[in-house]
């Protein structure tokens, strides 16, 4: 079922410690007063300007296969292509913080308010990721209600782990996120910029396990797949 999700503003504002940790900054207690001020302003601005919303639709494996098919890439050559056949549930999603917050970030940089712009960007990035996490949790709850108690949900997104950015096009064709104000440009980049998209893959932890020996793994320096897998392979 396709669903438009309207989040409360506070649901898209990350914890300050998450913002700091993601940027390699010290804990709040050790933060210099001038940085504390910038952080507080950014959190406050984000809480005011976010317009968090999402569209989500669960779909069958066959239908998801049709989302990947236009890429012309064998599914086995993509991490998501190898994982989704093992899923017990799949849902396409697009979640956005809206245009006001990125607009304010651009304005700050234009005004040479560099530190303020950077901090607000960091809050917004963490906020966008938080929305994906919230959608994953909603999906997990829905699956538990259907008796899938051991469901572990991870988002997989175009642009990562071999799924080309042009994979956004068929995903958008299937989900139609224009209804929540998200569009693609010719390069398949999303607008507003603080938007996340992809597929939520639900299943037992083992469903997410793969060996990172794809050709693109050779170039990858983040190795985020390791902790992602670890996060779902442990106990619930």
């Amino acid at each position: 079922m396709r669903e438009i999700v309207r989040f409360a503003k506070h649901e898209a504002v990350p914890e300050a410690r998450e913002v700091l940790a993601a940027q390699g900054l010290p804990e709040e207690v050790a933060l210099a007063p001038r940085l504390r001020r910038i952080l507080d302003e950014a959190m406050s601005t984000a809480a005011t300007l976010v317009e968090p919303r999402a569209v989500c639709e669960d779909l069958s494996a066959d239908r998801f296969a049709s989302v990947l098919a236009p890429l012309g890439v064998p599914a086995d050559d993509l991490v998501v292509g190898r994982v989704y056949p093992r899923a017990e549930g799949l849902a396409l999603f697009v979640a956005t913080l809206g245009e006001a917050l990125p607009g304010r970030i651009r304005q700050l940089f234009d005004e040479d308010a560099l530190a303020e712009g950077w901090m607000l960007d960091a809050v917004a990035s963490a906020g966008a990721d938080l929305l994906a996490d919230r959608l994953a949790e909603r999906f997990r709850h829905a699956l538990v209600a259907r008796g899938m108690d051991d469901a572990r949900v991870l988002p997989y997104s175009p642009g990562y782990c071999g799924w080309p950015t042009r994979g956004q096009r068929p995903l958008f064709d299937a989900l139609r996120p224009e209804e929540i104000g998200v569009t693609l440009n010719d390069s398949c980049l999303m607008s507003p910029i603080k938007t996340v998209s992809g597929v939520l893959v639900a299943g037992p932890g083992e469903a997410h396990r793969f060996r990172p020996d794809f050709p693109f793994c050779h170039d990858c320096q983040t190795h985020e797949c390791g902790w992602r897998m670890a996060s779902v392979l442990g106990k619930a």
Partner: protein, 211 residues
């Protein structure tokens, strides 16, 4: 000169208003704009960059200093032109085609400007040929490329290849950066260098351009 040290100190504090006031004072006292730039603003930014490298300060501190640098630089620009002070070099920057994560690239541009380089920022979603065309058109001697997505970093290889195809190797240097990129990757694609953050990018660009 005492006032140049005060400019450098104010810049390190990220006090843009004070840097502006002191720069005006120094110009009024007849100091050459080139000296104010190098011994005041750039000297201050060098300290900030070193503190950042040593993790004594954090990126927002660097950005506050950069804003202070701009405050002084804006006042100096007409005087620098009048004195015929050349920039340290011209650099083309951009985020790779298919990628719109440009905050890291923006930071590099800010730091390079702070170090006295002229920066041509091509923005994000930049095609390989656009990098090379811009370098030729602008007479830039360095192309800086940024990527956040693992699927777009591979296009850096195309830029390096284009530089070679057009006979620009050695004349236009290439440097790469971004979360999924490292020195091994830079070597593998034939880029001239790699920088892991904005402060180090300045060092590497200086080294590459002999500036």
């Amino acid at each position: 000169m005492e006032i140049l040290k005060r400019i450098a100190d104010a810049l390190q504090q990220g006090d843009d208003q004070r840097v502006g006031a002191l720069t005006t004072e120094a110009l009024g006292a007849g100091l050459p704009a080139g000296d104010i730039l190098q011994q005041g603003l750039v000297a201050g930014m060098n300290v900030v960059g070193e503190q950042f490298r040593l993790r004594e300060i954090f990126l927002p501190d660097v950005l506050l200093a950069a804003r202070a640098m701009y405050a002084g630089l804006d006042l100096l620009k007409p005087h620098l032109a009048a004195e015929g002070v050349p920039s340290r070099g011209k650099v083309v920057l951009g985020t790779m085609k298919g990628d719109l994560h440009d905050i890291g690239k923006n930071l590099v541009g800010i730091m390079l400007k702070g170090a006295g380089f002229e920066v041509i920022d091509l923005g994000h979603d930049v095609a390989p040929e656009v990098f090379v065309d811009a370098a030729v058109r602008e007479g830039a001697t360095l192309i800086g490329m940024s990527a956040l997505l693992t699927t777009t970093m591979t296009r850096m290889r195309e830029v390096v290849a284009l530089v070679r195809e057009r006979g620009l190797a050695g004349k236009v240097r290439t440097i790469v950066g971004g979360a999924p990129v490292n020195a091994d990757f830079a070597r593998e694609i034939g880029a001239d260098d790699y920088a892991c953050d904005a402060a180090r990018a300045v060092d590497r660009v200086r080294a590459l351009l002999g500036a």
